[in-house]
């Protein structure tokens, strides 16, 4: 079905740098496309050949297990050649810049570069310097588009759609690229987004992105369909955002008591890795009836397959120009 339909599929972008700027049609296309891969990934034979002959480089400047593995599997299941580069262990230590590394890799003619980088805007910068498609797998506190897509796919499969849902995103908003991508996606698709965190973790002017801000979990979770928890990103915190883990968990950790103000069937999500006892109570995280956390991981592979395929379909037969 996918293979047969490929001629008509049009994804209007050369890169996937963020959710901001994507239209509802773009997002729907990516999600619809992902959907079929969910089934394929549950088969014994998971292998396709749509990316045969294509080269995908996972260029990771930050430690990552799940996202890198997910992209690697996605590429391999589509028959592509996947190379993983963890730059923390190679040339960056020898003083090579992002652009140097990119130019070196570009000379090897990859079709897709998947970039994870600690600085916001790194993917955009890279996309201006290479011939291939670039997928942003997380740039600093800016965006993580495939995470938002996999979250959307998870919600859509459970709830049938996104329109009109009340979604709470809770926790370390200020440092979170997942939050930003999700805010853009959910707003674009007609969901209503609430942010819940201590004031210190709410970035200035965020209301202008079309969200409602709450500083109290019970108030913010009231009547919500979806509860998205975020990981506290201690590695990005310089200084004092809250006094202690104990106090954070007391007021903002998701436990059954706070969850009680959400809808009875509210879905719990977390991009992982979880800090149990920090932003989420173990019991809640492991609640099979409520938690979609493992499903999110499964959807991740399908979404990344769709992204890789749609972006490579957009590639010209031969590279033009030489940057």
């Amino acid at each position: 079905m996918i293979d047969g339909a490929s001629d008509t599929i049009q994804f209007a972008h050369r890169h996937l740098l963020g959710i901001e700027g994507l239209s509802p049609d773009d997002i729907t296309l990516l999600l619809d496309h992902s959907e079929s891969y969910v089934e394929q990934n549950r088969q014994i034979d998971k292998k396709k050949s749509v990316l045969r002959g294509r080269t995908i480089i996972n260029l990771f400047f930050e430690a990552s297990t799940r996202t890198r593995t997910s992209f690697e599997l996605a590429g391999k299941r589509l028959g592509g050649d996947v190379i993983n580069m963890s730059v923390s262990t190679s040339s960056i230590k020898k003083g090579e810049t992002l652009i140097d590394t990119a130019m070196t890799l570009n000379a090897m003619h990859p079709d897709v570069l998947v970039l994870r980088h600690p600085d916001a805007g790194a993917a955009k910068l890279l996309s201006e310097k290479v011939n291939c498609a670039v997928i942003n797998a997380g740039d600093g506190s800016h965006e993580h588009p495939t995470q938002a897509l996999l979250d959307a796919l998870t919600i859509r499969r459970r709830r049938g759609g996104l329109q009109g849902l009340k979604v709470a995103i809770c926790g370390d908003i200020v440092h979170s690229r997942v939050a930003r991508s999700n805010i853009h996606l959910l707003n674009t698709m007609g969901a209503r987004v609430r942010l819940i965190a201590p004031r210190t973790l709410i970035p200035e002017g965020v209301e202008r992105l079309g969200v409602e801000v709450f500083y109290d979990m019970k108030e913010g979770l009231e009547d919500c369909d979806i509860v998205m928890m975020l990981r506290l990103q201690s590695e990005r915190m310089h200084g004092n955002f809250f006094p202690s883990i104990r106090e954070y968990f007391h007021f903002f950790g998701l436990d059954y008591e706070k969850l009680a103000s959400a809808k009875p069937d509210a879905l719990i999500m977390h991009p992982g890795p979880m800090n149990r006892g920090v932003e989420i109570d173990s019991e809640v995280a492991d609640d099979i009836g409520r938690s979609a956390i493992r499903e999110q991981v499964e959807m991740g592979v399908a979404v990344r397959m769709a992204c890789l395929e749609l972006l490579t379909l957009n590639r010209p037969e031969t590279e033009q120009g030489n940057l």
């Binding site: 004031r199 500083y215 955002f241 006094p243 104990r246 007391h250 007021f251």
Partner: protein, 438 residues
């Protein structure tokens, strides 16, 4: 003096009183009835046909019966420095001063940056049964100005607001985060407004007197800079701030401007800053060594104006007991601070005696004014509220003699001052906790 909790209080009628309640503007002859621990009724017509039998009667002799004073800045030194003062000695001094509610700073040992200390103080004060004691929690752990204290949980344990006590939160980023974080729970930050890098070497107000005495000065700008900076931070974070003991004209102007702009900014001052100026330091009198330092006459006048025009929301005693060893030192080495619980009312009443303010306006700054800053349901006469009352004679003249004060430490900057206004009876939760005959 303190009533036993188990004692049945019954009903008490305070008759022949001049009832003054600044919160409602009441100032009229009348009576007040307490039932158990609460105010049951009051007014001009109450008991006009005599007090029914079975009600205990207290004749107020025409003196003023007011809501008990609320003092939002005291250091009680317990736990940790009991040689300077204790909850018991501070409690007795407070009842003698007509204070029924007080709020202590977190600079105890250990610091009030942990819920257990809040609970310790609450339990000890409750057992004493004297003046009610609330406490501030620390803004930063150990009052060190770096890591935020657990303000949310401290507030749940009972801390009414947050301050680093006699130290300012100096680092602007820490203050920004503190205001922002406190805003999460709508908590108030109380700042001692003093830029420490400008103040740390000084012993008194910078200026001619300091120069003559050969003492290093603390510039007025040390206060103004922090007040102006923190107002910017409040605007940026949406937090709430209260400046303690403001002492300079420009700081008061800055607060007035912030209020006009609708920011959540309040301030208080203490009697030394409107009743004394830097000349009180005289010949190196360490009892006049305070923090902030006593200022020049023009600043004292600005504080008076700020109180009269409402820019300053409250008067607090700034009670800071020190033992003799901490004060009997060369001026530069002596500790800062003076006791103030027993002189708060009479020194404030000077505004009334000299015709600068009405009695109601003075008392507002000592009752509902400070209570409203902290959101305490105290400092007003209302049916159903705890019967926390002060009976005083506004005209009775006496002389402050430090050694006669009940405070354990005797370091009063007002020693020897002739004053008017004497507390006759102090009632907490319907119980008489202080009484003076004749």
């Amino acid at each position: 003096m303190a009533g036993k909790p188990s004692e049945s209080l019954g009903r008490v009628a305070y008759v022949n009183a001049r009832l003054v309640d600044p919160a409602s503007g009441l100032d009229a002859p009348g009576a007040l009835l307490t039932e158990g621990e609460v105010i049951a009724d009051f007014g001009a017509g109450l008991f006009s046909e005599g007090v029914p039998e079975g009600i205990k009667v207290v004749d107020c002799g025409g003196h003023c019966l007011i809501p008990g004073l609320v003092d939002i800045r005291v250091q009680l030194r317990e736990p940790g420095e009991e040689h300077k003062g204790t909850l018991a000695s501070g409690g007795r001094a407070a009842t003698a001063g007509g204070i029924t509610t007080m709020v202590c700073l977190p600079n105890t040992v250990p610091v009030i940056d942990d819920m257990s200390v809040v609970e310790f103080i609450a339990r000890r004060a409750r057992l004493l049964g004297l003046t009610k004691v609330y406490c501030y929690g620390a803004v930063t752990k150990g009052l060190e100005g770096r890591a935020l204290a657990e303000m949310g949980m401290l507030a749940e344990a009972g801390a009414v607001a947050f301050t680093d006590g006699v130290k300012a939160v100096g680092d602007a980023q820490v203050m920004r985060r503190a205001l922002s974080y406190a805003g999460t729970y709508r908590l108030l930050i109380v700042q001692h407004p003093e830029e420490s890098s400008l103040a740390e070497d000084g012993a008194m107000n910078a200026g001619e007197t300091a120069t003559r005495l050969g003492l290093q000065g603390i510039p007025r700008a040390a206060e103004i800079i922090i007040v102006e900076r923190d107002i910017r931070l409040v605007e940026m974070t949406g937090g709430r701030i209260h400046f303690a003991h403001v002492s300079t004209a420009e700081a008061i102007e800055a607060v007035a401007r912030a209020k006009t702009r609708g920011l959540n900014v309040t301030c208080d001052t203490a009697p030394p800053y409107f009743a004394l100026n830097e000349t009180a330091v005289g010949d190196y009198r360490t009892f006049a060594k305070l923090s902030p330092p006593l200022r020049a006459e023009a600043d004292r006048q600005a504080v008076v104006d700020g109180l009269k025009n409402g820019t300053i929301d409250a008067i607090a005693s700034d009670h800071a007991p020190h033992d003799e060893d901490a004060k009997r030192l060369p001026f530069a080495q002596a500790a800062c601070g003076g006791i103030g619980l027993e002189t708060l009312l009479p020194v404030s009443l000077e505004f009334y005696q000299n015709g600068q303010m009405s009695l109601t306006d003075v008392l507002r700054l000592l009752t509902c004014g400070p209570a409203d800053v902290l959101g305490l349901s105290a400092g007003r006469l209302e049916k159903g509220l705890p019967a926390d009352l002060t009976l005083f004679d506004p005209d009775r003249a006496w002389k402050v003699v430090a050694d006669d004060l009940l405070s354990k430490s005797k370091n009063s900057p007002f020693d020897g001052r002739p004053v008017q206004g004497r507390v006759l009876r102090t009632v907490v939760d319907g119980r008489a906790v202080y009484g003076r005959e004749g």
